[in-house]
């Protein structure tokens, strides 16, 4: 099992452009969460997808959007990129079992640099 895989590993974009980041969850997991980690900070929750719907959202603008596919993989899209969007973007997957979640496994992250 490759665990959680994210692509690409690094990305450089220009201000105003749009970017799509991808995540494949750990085998058997059905829930994907995205986090933004700025330099020197802890990960900040962006949103979570379960059953192909956004279930919970953190304090991020509508420029951040996502999608989950039937195979549970997910995409994070960011429109109108700002310099402040430069960060490490982490994907985490887990399995929802009724009233609780299993351990969240994290990917290696995608390092986005906006110039």
């Amino acid at each position: 099992d490759a665990g959680v895989t994210q692509s690409p590993t690094h990305l450089i974009k220009t201000r105003g452009q749009q970017v799509t980041l991808r995540c494949s969850p750990k085998s058997g997991h059905d829930t994907v969460s995205w986090y933004q980690q700025a330099l020197g900070q802890g990960p900040q929750f962006i949103f979570q997808y379960y059953e192909e719907e956004e279930r919970q959202r953190g304090n991020f603008p509508d420029r951040f959007s996502g999608h989950q596919f039937p195979n549970y993989s997910s995409e994070l899209n960011v429109n109108a990129l700002l310099l402040g969007d430069s960060a490490l973007y982490l994907c985490a997957s887990s399995l929802r079992t009724g009233t609780w979640d299993t351990e969240a496994f994290f990917g290696q992250g995608t390092r986005l640099t906006v110039v």
Partner: protein, 110 residues
Amino acid sequence: AQRVTQPEKLLSVFKGAPVELKCNYSYSGSPELFWYVQYSRQRLQLLLRHISRESIKGFTADLNKGETSFHLKKPFAQEEDSAMYYCALKRGQAGTALIFGKGTTLSVSS
């Protein structure tokens, strides 16, 4: 509001010394508390989950609801413990997000 505070950015100790990484949280309900660790060039991984009450790699953490703390402790630090440690909080129900602290870098030298 839910918040996790890790007051120390950096903790430097010598090999064999005791370690305590501090974590305080604010949440009015019944939270789940976690410690995550990130070793150099590796992904973030779960170290401890308070509900499991396990000891992993010699580390323990006790949830103190009165002091709203979840400090991470190890009696004798090893050089391989050098890493970034994050305390995280989650509402105690399915489908909720992890709220992370800013992290503490532990540096263990010989």
